[in-house]
Amino acid sequence: MSDFKGRQLQIVFDLNKCLECHTCTMADKLMWTNRSGREYMYWNNVETMPGHGYPKGWGNNRNQTETGSGQILGGGFKDVVLEEGRTDGKVKSRGPVQREGKDPDLENDYGIPWEYNYEEVFNPGDSHDTPGATGIRPHYKGKEVVPKWGPNWEEDQGAGEWPNHWAFALPRICNHCAHPACLAACSRKAIYKRQEDGIVLVDQERCRGYRHCVRACPYKKVYFNFSTGKSEKCVLCYPRVEKGVPPACFAQCPGRIRFIGWKDDKNSAVYKLIHEWKVALPLHPEFGTEPNVFYVPPLGNFKFGGDGEITNERVIPVKYLGALFGGVENVKRVQGIILEEREKMRKGIKSELCMTLIGHDNADRFQLNVGGVPYKTAEEVQPVKTQFVTPSEDDAKGYKGGV
């Protein structure tokens, strides 16, 4: 596969700002994956790190737990050589794609999309001790179940010991890689990378459901639809993006941690963060896929000493962050820059980096630049005729009083 020559959208997630509220997850879930065999899929999910993540044990050579041991699902490229100090994800060389990863198990690795027998709350229970009605339980395919895994199974669990326990949130979507392992692994040539924006898609007409892509993606962001027998993945909300509207999970983020823009737009926030300040790092560049989602690594808070005093040592081990974001030295350098710039702001000197990271307005974070504006709202491109109609003007609003 030759290098991607098309135009590329790039993305930054600032982990220092993530609230772990999962609004992104719900935005994605309700827009794309709440139906038609996708119920178990989370194209966007947020997981607590360190942990096994979602699906359980994603990664190559090591998983994302503190020690990296336990189940590892595999994928990515063999013999990847990185260039020291390089943070744009580009690799020096890579070997063949690894298709022999494990198929994640629906129940144990993804988690089944359980449901509840809500209607039970209307039925009386066995005993008429107050009030004696029946409760609701998780069910799957008509049977009561005890769930075994889910998209946020390890919420807040992390590692370390009280009071120096540590954890941070890692929101994940498809990385829309410049050198996708899923694309390299597909023997049907059903996966393609769009020249106009670099979005990686699965052609539903060509896909035969071999699942090489599922096994090859080291981030495990391709999912098999058991109903249609084909693979599916995050589409970066391309119908929105084409019209200048940021993807749903970006638009809905209350923490405003998400940035999107063009790699070739030197004025975009993403360009500044990734290529100028170099404070946004690729997740696992050693997988060799050249991901286009970049992360500002978290600083974390300070450790408590023996008498409850606050020390100067950070609670998140930089070694762990190094294992995620392409080496300890890169992470240390980023943390150093951010702390230095924050210090400037404290002294009343305006920091371009801090202002960019804060991203006050949507236009500061989204630069899709369609139609001469940085971004558009969904309402702009698909106008709603009337926003609100008073009950007295609308007969369809039903009951109006007159009791």
Partner: protein, 411 residues
């Protein structure tokens, strides 16, 4: 805090004697109750005892609810209320400068009515019955309620007989929402910004609004009478006699393990301390019990009620992640699944609150474990500014008063 049931009785008597609390709560038991959007079984401390004793007196229990909560399940009548998406209504919160419209995206499903319609309906029927029976008015405490004109009064002789009229009336009464012009914007755009003096600070065009600005930043008393404290400022040191007596003048750090084994350790009736203290603060997954059993949100958790436990404690008790755990003390029991969390001190067990009875094994609840039915600090009153409780509220529990033990059980 170091008090027992006898102390509690003594506090209650003292509070009534001194007029801190009204004596009505002791004199008259309720007979008919209407619970409005209030999941009482879920939020009352000492739930099972409260429930048992309360229901002894209640002949008729009516519940206005959006959904079938644990509380609604035991009501004689459930008045099915329209949700926020189904009603033409507005919402303000004290800390936000916007008054926001619920634009009635869809009409109410089934036979749901908005709460305004529900109580209008009740008032109308009460008025009709009162007239038919020739009842004019009744005395309630110091108030007279005119039953034969209660509906006319409620809707102000037809002026407020629809949600739309009531909302506009409310809007126009406000001095900060901009009158007719503000209402126009409110209806058109879905919100209107308050301008002028709010409860906790001014709402200005050219500056961010800060909650508690007057008290915390300007060191001024709030403009509304009820916000006034002794100093006129936000009060951190409380010098009420009950607070002094119980050594609770300031908020205290509650996470230190220094107290363990000390005088504040929750104890069994035989005087020995419990191994664990139970904590259950606000949840991130709902607003109290609302949305707590929502399928989409539950899939982002463990699917079942869970209890955070320190891994060392789990090893000691032979409990594994997702095992069913019985949490118990001499007051009651509750069941939840274990979830390992190294961020927790080994002597604390922790769950996020808001779980409804329906979700727990045997219809049990974490509020079955509370030892403190009433919080003596909430019997405080008198001429101490804002520290006034009515007695007719849900007692806030005291964090380090709920001692528990745990064990692994089947399930």
């Amino acid at each position: 805090m170091g008090f027992d049931v006898n102390d509690m009785e003594a506090y209650l008597k003292d509070a009534i004697d001194k007029g801190y609390l009204t004596d009505r709560i002791m004199k008259k038991t309720p007979r008919i109750a209407i619970w409005h959007s209030c999941n009482n079984y879920r939020n009352k401390t000492g739930t099972q005892w409260w429930r048992e004793n309360y229901l002894k007196h209640i002949e008729l229990l009516i519940c206005t609810e959006l959904r079938m909560t644990g509380s609604a399940q035991s009501a004689d009548y459930v008045l099915s209320a329209a949700t926020d998406y189904e009603r033409w209504d507005g919402r303000e919160t004290t800390t936000n400068l916007n008054f926001t419209l619920f634009g009635q995206a869809v009409k109410p499903m089934f036979d749901r009515r908005t709460d305004w319609q529900i109580y209008q309906g009740l008032a109308k029927v009460i008025q009709e019955k009162a007239k038919a029976r020739g009842i004019k008015s009744i005395l309630y405490g110091k108030r007279t309620i005119d039953l034969d004109s209660i509906y006319d009064e409620y809707v102000q002789n037809g002026e407020l007989d629809t949600d739309e009229k009531a909302l506009k009336w409310h809007h126009m009464k406000s001095t900060v929402l901009g009158g007719e012009k503000g209402y126009e914007k409110f209806v058109k755009e879905g919100y209107v910004q308050a301008k002028g003096d709010g409860k906790y600070g001014p709402y200005l065009d050219d500056a961010p609004s800060r909650s508690l600005r007057w008290q915390a930043i300007d060191k001024m008393p709030g403009p509304m009478k009820k916000q006034k404290t002794n100093t006129g400022r936000f009060q951190f040191y409380v010098d009420h006699e009950y607070h002094i007596k119980l050594d609770q003048m300031t908020p205290k750090p509650q996470y230190t393990d220094k107290w363990r084994g000390g005088p504040q350790s929750p104890r069994r009736p035989d005087g020995t301390p419990y191994q664990l203290v139970m904590n259950y603060p606000h949840t991130k997954w709902g607003i109290h019990s609302s949305y707590r059993e929502n399928q989409w949100l539950m899939r982002l958790q463990r699917g079942d009620v869970y209890l955070y436990l320190n891994p060392k404690l789990m090893a000691e008790k032979g409990i594994k992640d997702m095992d069913m755990v019985r949490v118990y003390n001499h007051v009651g029991e509750w069941f939840a699944r274990a979830k390992e969390w190294a961020g927790l001190p080994p002597y604390v067990v922790h769950t996020e609150h808001g779980w409804d009875h329906q979700l727990s094994k045997n219809w049990s609840h974490y509020n079955n474990l509370n030892c403190e039915f009433l919080n003596p600090l909430e019997m405080a009153g008198g001429k101490k500014g804002h520290i006034v409780y009515t007695g007719n509220h849900t007692g806030n529990r005291v964090y380090y008063e709920t001692g528990v033990d745990i064990e692994k059980v089947a399930g």
